[in-house]
Symmetry: C3
Subunit: 179 residues, 3 copies
Amino acid sequence: MNRADLPANVCVADDVKLGDNVRLAPFVNLYGCEVGDDTRIGAFVEVQKQASIGKRCKISSHTFICSGVVIEDGVFIGHGVVFINDRHPRAVNGDGSVQNESDWKLEETRIRAGASIGSGAIIMCGVTVGERAMVGAGALVTHDVPAHAVVAGHPARVRRLMLAANGTAEKRGNQNAAD
Amino acid sequence: MNRADLPANVCVADDVKLGDNVRLAPFVNLYGCEVGDDTRIGAFVEVQKQASIGKRCKISSHTFICSGVVIEDGVFIGHGVVFINDRHPRAVNGDGSVQNESDWKLEETRIRAGASIGSGAIIMCGVTVGERAMVGAGALVTHDVPAHAVVAGHPARVRRLMLAANGTAEKRGNQNAAD
Amino acid sequence: MNRADLPANVCVADDVKLGDNVRLAPFVNLYGCEVGDDTRIGAFVEVQKQASIGKRCKISSHTFICSGVVIEDGVFIGHGVVFINDRHPRAVNGDGSVQNESDWKLEETRIRAGASIGSGAIIMCGVTVGERAMVGAGALVTHDVPAHAVVAGHPARVRRLMLAANGTAEKRGNQNAAD
């Protein structure tokens, strides 16, 4: 993406790697991250440094994607989704000193290709959401989600697995055939 | 509303129909929608095309109102409320192709006059929230809400009906008397 | 903080009292509030009039802090946290007239020193969260939280108390020793 093509009212730091044909809504704040080709990012979205978003994703408005989150290709992220990377966040230590990078441990999160995260979902750190899995709106995801599973609830539980007509899991496109 | 009166730091597309005396906070993103007279819209709110907001409403900060949502007159929408219009959202189809308008079905949502949606609530698509109903903070609304009902929880359940002194449902103003 | 040092893309009203070394991300909206020294405020945060934030706090992105909220020193507020100050919000009264300041009652909320509020949590009005307490991600807090307690869930319940090596509650720094 040619940086001259950026719309008004966006903050995109110089160190952001934007693929071709990325579309940004107004009021986005990106720094130190990577966004793949043909991905769309909605209004009021922040993506932090060391976060990675694949190709052909849709990141909906009001969503927060933190350092340590890897989103593979073709993922849908709903509106107002919150990712987390610190299990025990604090502003200050027990002695009152301000926390710095050495006072907490980043836990990574991965959303695999084609998955869908419903609006308002909260994704705890350290989890993996499997391929083409679907996380319901408002779910609090505290454990790994199997591929093709539908999870929902607070905390989220598996409700069903999506099956294709041939009895196998939902048909997957060529992009995933190697898995 | 005279477009010249718009505050700085807002994005209001040319196709937005703003009533008289609409008040907009900074950092709002409106396109293709309709907003009635005397309605107030808070910061970090997005209203999409084909959404309609009535008169004398209050739409609080951080809320997302999507296509297919109809909000009648005198409605309170809290902070960080999320509406939904696609039950099975995906960025890409099973074959990896990017979804377009023909790959999903919009389901409409209606919030009837005088209702109140608590902060952080999530409103699933296809529901109607009845007149003067009250949805609790953080509720996940998956079914229709009767008029004058108070619902809360995840998923939301009816907790009580509001009654007026005369034993009928809470007194309604003239604006609703014809219903 | 020298007002000339404010970054672009922020709205900070003239009546805001900013301490020394406050750091503001882009797209913040502050009016009538007070922010203590060395506090950091993330993107897409709104802080209303008559809200107070202490020193060395971290207020994360997408959070809404309303009038009547007092946040003491060293508090962590996660992403997308919503505070509430009106238990029965309405846009209009039963007779259809627009509500004004005399039609509702503000209930105050206090977050004591060193506490941590997880991302996506909703804090009902009228509660106090105790010193160094930890509110889990996505929790709906409807009652007071004791000092050093860990609460989670929807609605939030106490899960455990944090203890220090000597069997007393987690060691507290000097800043709290006078309490």
